[in-house]
Symmetry: none
Subunit: 234 residues, 2 copies
DNA sequence: AAGACCGTGTCGACGCGTTGTGACGGATTC
DNA sequence: GAATCCGTCACAACGCGTCGACACGGTCTT
């Protein structure tokens, strides 16, 4: 109840301590270790909701741990399903991670912004909460998650990365009103809403791109609160 | 809510006085003591909604008090469930493990920012209160909290941010009379009611928007006190 | 390697809904 | 009947969202 359980696998002690502290503050139950072998055991015994896995570990690489988790040893079904976020070695470009990492749910390059980490953790946890459908659909709008394709009335719409992320965030719960802080956090990884017009700008662009003829708009503002995606046909 | 009841257990008299004053201003019902033994009795007799527990006490440590609460003596079921926030000694680093092992719900290191304390108290109380229902309903009135949609007899009503906040505040406990100061504090964040007609104005607007035909009104004034939402069908 | 191109974040002008206030009259209490 | 308190209205100021313009930086082309 007191937040999701996170297993932090991280060799560098200061980083580990920092993460334990911060994540606990943010309401997570934190469990940690510095070695890959222990990590595998802990995943089985403690059943965390999420694993935060550093690429560099003393006994084996994080990539290997991830693979082992995904293989799933007999009688260890949990392993195969637990979401994993990998963290690259300091200074390593994120592309290398992409190449090596197989089966992890997200990656992050060190040094990372803590806020961004939390945002990604939340995103991954939300996704893992239920088997996510392959496509989201609202009225004439359909989003294919695998190919990141968006269509309005069958017509393909080209969206930028942020526009897409924003749309998916909204579409994951149509009609629900998302506060601006929420969206900023989920899509941009910001902690607080400064005097930024970024979100408004992207909302505006997204709205225009989705506008199809004289339909009522998809992206709707809720005055003084945030935005929502309109699902009602009328 | 008439404010939740908080038990402040704190040895240092100035700190205790300050907390009593501030928390009362912020709408909490405050009860306080300086010793661990009395604290245990008070939890049982007064049944506070939250315990604010200093680590340093004259007769026993706060950690011990927390443990005793969690053990739960026979016939003292309340103890086990009441949320506890521990406050560490001045300058002491927070010993999270020690505290969480004893079953406290959150932590704070002295010296702390008062605002942070309140934020954490609210967070813990919210958690303890359990998940909020997705919708509130009174007679023909229904409020969908996620989409911030308000309907009267199925008909959608457009409300502004403040009107909505006011309605939700009232609807969280229908029939209960909310004093004007309470509403101003909950909805506007003011601490005291000056000579403001703001609340009356909004109540009026809200009343009109909710008026549906010749039904008895939803928003009712209680002379000299405040407002309430009428739930009785007649 | 230089240039074109796209994505992104910021700024500012503009317009509109919202919000707080004071006035006035009616209601309520003592 | 006097003193409050309340309901409602109109209005002005403000806050907020919109959207075009622009600058910066990264990527792809040639």
């Amino acid at each position: 109840m007191a937040g999701e359980a996170v297993l932090v696998v991280e060799q560098e002690e200061p980083v580990r301590a920092f993460l334990e502290q911060q994540l606990t503050d943010d309401g997570f139950e934190v469990l940690s270790t510095d070695a890959g072998g222990k990590a595998l055991e802990l995943v089985e015994s403690a059943r965390p909701d999420l694993v935060l896995l550093d690429a560099v570990l003393p006994d084996s690489s994080g990539f290997e741990v991830c693979s082992r988790l995904r293989e799933g040893e007999p009688g260890r079904a949990w392993n195969r399903d637990v979401p994993v976020i990998m963290v690259s070695a300091r200074g390593e470009p994120i592309d290398r991670l992409r190449g090596f990492a197989r089966g992890c749910d997200d990656y992050l390059a060190k040094p990372f912004l803590y806020e961004e980490l939390v945002a990604r953790m939340r995103a991954v946890l939300r996704r893992a909460a239920g088997p996510r459908p392959a496509t989201l659909a609202v009225r004439d709008l359909s989003i294919d998650l695998a190919s990141r394709t968006v269509r309005v009335a069958g017509e393909r719409v080209q969206l930028s990365a942020k526009e897409y992320a924003l749309l998916v965030a909204l579409a994951e719960d149509p009609e629900r009103v998302f506060r601006k802080e929420e969206l900023l956090r989920d899509v941009w990884g910001f902690r607080s809403l400064g005097r930024t017009r970024t979100l408004d700008s992207h909302a505006s662009r997204l709205r225009r791109k989705l506008a199809n003829g004289s339909e009522p708009t998809y992206v709707l503002n809720v005055w003084g609160v945030g935005y929502r995606l309109v699902a009602s046909a009328a």
